[in-house]
Every structure is written in C-alpha cells, then in structure tokens.
Symmetry: C2
Subunit: 221 residues, 2 copies
DNA sequence: TTCCCCGCCTCTGTATACCGAAGGCCCGCG
DNA sequence: CGCGGGCCTTCGGTATACAGAGGCGGGGAA
C-alpha cells in the first residue's frame, strides 16, 4: 500500500475519532515525522482531506482540522434530508427484495437486542445504509452521501443518543424498510424525512441539555 | 498564486471544456512539462481533481480523465433533483427579496434577448444559481452542489439545447423565482422538480436524435 | 510464424534539498 | 518600561534526485 494512502487513512480516522480535535494545526514536518513518512505523500493526504472538507488549508498555513459545532447540525440535516429521501425513493424503485426482506426481519428482532447495548443496532443501521447504497446504483448520489457521512460521523460525537430514542428509531427504520420492500417510493421518502426530523430534534435536545459526549470516554473502533 | 492552484485551474478547465477528452491519460511528466511546473504541484492538482471525480487514479497508472456518457444523464439528474429542490425550498425560506426581485425582472425581459443568441440567458441562469447559493447559506449543501455542477458542465456538451426549449425554460425559471419571492417553499421545490424533469427529457431526446455537440465547434469561454 | 520469456526503459512513488516568505523574538531607542 | 524595527528561525512551496515496479518490445525457441 502506498504511504500516502496510509497517511490519509490514519489522519482521517484520527479526525473522525476526535483524536485530532477541531482547530489542530497539521504541520507538515510534525505529521510526516509522526507517521514515519516524508512530506510528499503527507501533502497528498492533506490535499485529499481538504477536498472532503475535513481540513482547511490556507496559504502559508498548513492544514487545520475543520471546526464542528452543534450549529452545523441543522445544516448537515438539510443536506441529509435532500440526499437520503432521494436515496430511499430510488431504493424503493430498484431494491433487491431478498436483501430488504432480511433487513426487515433483523429490524423486527432488533428491540430484543437493544437491552444489552446499542452497538449491534448501530451496525444494523449501517447495513441498511449499505443496502440502500447498493440499491440506488448511482455513483454521483453515492459520492455525495459518502461526503456527508464523513461530517455526520464527526458531529455525532457532540451528543449521545437517548436510550428511549433508540426504540423509536427502530420503528422508524422498520417503516422505511417496509416501504422500500413495498416499492412505495413516496412513503419511503416521507418515512425517511420523518426519521431525520425526529433524529435532529433529539440531537438538538441532547446538545441543549448539556448531554455532550466526552471525547475520551467514548470510542468507536 | 501557487503553481499547484494554477495547474488545478488549467486542468479543470481543460477537462470541463473537453480539451482533455474522457480517457485521456494525464502522465505526470508530460503534463508537468506542458504546464511548465514540476511534478510535485502537478500531483496535488491531480489529487484534487480525483477527489472531485473528474479523473480516475489507479495504482501505477497516472490519472485518467473520467468517462462521461449519455448514460450518466439520468444519474446526474437524480442527484440534481435531490439537491436543487432542497436548495429551492431553503432559498424560498431565507432569500433576500431585493435580489430575487431583480432576477424576476431580468427573467421577464429574457425572452426579448433570446432572439440574438442564448449566451446572455445562460449567464442569467448562472446568476440565479448564485443567488440561490447565497440564500441557502449552507456550506455542506453548497459543496455538494458545486461537485454536481462540475459533472453537469461536462455532460452538457453531449447535447445541444433546443431553441424552442429555451422559451419554455425561461417560464419555468420565472415560476421558480416567483415562488422563492413568495416564500412558497413547496411551490419552489416542485417548480424546480418540473424544470429538471423537462430539462432531462429534452436532453435525452437531443441525445437520442443524434444532436450531439461537436467538441470543436462549440466553446464557452 | 507465433508464442513466451527476458531485459530494458519509462513512469510512478518517495525522499530530500533549496528557496522564499512570514512570524516571532530580541535588542535598542524613545 | 514600552514600542518598534530588524534579524533569525522555521515552515510551506517547489524542484529534483533516486528507487522500484510494470509494461512493452525484441529475440529465441517450438
């Protein structure tokens, strides 16, 4: 594997996992030494991260890890609503029945597994996202979704999911999966919109009540 | 200005204007000599173009200008519908009245100027896009829109606008501007969706009837 | 004549050297 | 003692040198 790819992966993970906090200056000399590579491949990694909006680069100053704040939540969800409602609509149109039938069963049995931690549930949601990605079969929409998810991953660390919210979330996802299975494009899109609005409201509420996630206590390997 | 920025601008323009056709291999040595810079800043430019999806890079092979074909039109418009309907909705919510009042007047007088070429009209549409960009005030949505427009600029060269289509397009845009002025979010989004569907249908028809644009005969400076 | 293998050559990937600019610190002057 | 200017240091930007890999062509053998 290329050194620039490794540098990119490491730096991206470091930023997404808040090991490199917003505002951190990524000096070329410093980071190239830390990663054990020379400045040339490091620059390529920084350039790629800048293109994804994870770092800012200004003339004469090396990359600075982009700032994220609760103020970005409404902005991100405006984009998310645009992309994911369309994704749900297209998935309903083109989905593979067997895949979503399986997902439907998994979501039906999800409440039982919620009692012992939510990590399995998050993994299930990720599988739904992946299934939708495959179903929509649109590289351009997919690229925009991928960029969005970078920022969502960072902002999620700002607030913790409310346990009671998870049960709601399961039923909302189930509705989406069912609509996709039924080839009901309109319902799939609207159920997604509903889910996103409620998710945003929950996140904003969690932020407002000071339920912030300490960076050191939470890890998602 | 930095050499890498100049290289990026030149290459991007060359790709968007079809001076570098899809499939062209961008050898590092060759391009750095052509642009009169060394390979280091050129690599940065290629990396940025790759992040935007304008070039493919695979291990051991330099950048290759991404392929575009009429088959991409439906895919692009699926993303475009998602982003631009949301953009119209948000613009209706947050627009500056004076800006769009001016645009309304300009679109009202657009049919008169259509008789002597459409270049002024395209510029007017670009001004509307810019006004919407300002109104939505959302950097994430804006970034996705910018990426989309890169690809749209390329694919437009695949088909020529039908003159009779332009008159229709004016009235569709007028409806969008009026809806934004009226703060009618729903109508703004739906009018945008209508416009996009008709645009796509027109483009697909133009492609199907072999009305392709010769690369050398059309320039957009 | 055709196919396969070997070797050369070019090109990418990485490291490093050089240059210019900007910022910080220190010294001197008011 | 404070402020300003100049010098020095450091870092980003660019060029270039070097190594490894992959591809292509030529030659030999079947």
């Amino acid at each position: 594997m290329r050194a620039s790819d490794r540098a990119y992966d490491v730096l991206k993970e470091d930023i997404l996992q808040w090991r490199l906090v917003p505002g951190t200056v990524l000096g070329e000399t410093e980071q190239s030494e830390r990663l054990g590579i020379s400045r040339t491949p490091l620059r390529e990694a920084i350039t790629r991260l800048a293109a994804e909006g994870l770092v800012d680069t200004q003339r004469g100053r090396a990359g600075v890890v982009t700032d994220v704040s609760p103020a970005n939540l409404p902005e991100l969800f405006e984009l998310r609503e645009a992309l994911e409602t369309q994704a749900a609509r297209l998935a309903a149109r083109r989905r593979d029945a067997a895949t979503f039938e399986q997902l439907r069963e998994d979501f039906l049995s999800a409440p039982a597994s919620l009692v012992d931690g939510a990590s399995g549930y998050y993994e299930l949601v990720a599988r739904l996202d992946a299934a939708i990605d495959v179903a929509i079969a649109n590289p351009f929409l997919l690229a925009s979704l991928a960029g969005l998810r970078n920022h969502l991953a960072r902002v999620r660390r700002l607030a913790q999911d409310n346990p009671s919210r998870l049960a709601e979330s399961v039923s909302e996802h189930l509705l989406i999966v069912q609509a996709i299975l039924d080839r009901d494009e309109m319902l799939a899109a609207q159920a997604t919109a509903v889910h996103l609005r409620k998710s945003l409201a929950n996140l904003l509420d969690a932020v407002a009540t000071g339920d912030a996630v300490s960076n050191s206590t939470k890890g998602t390997p």
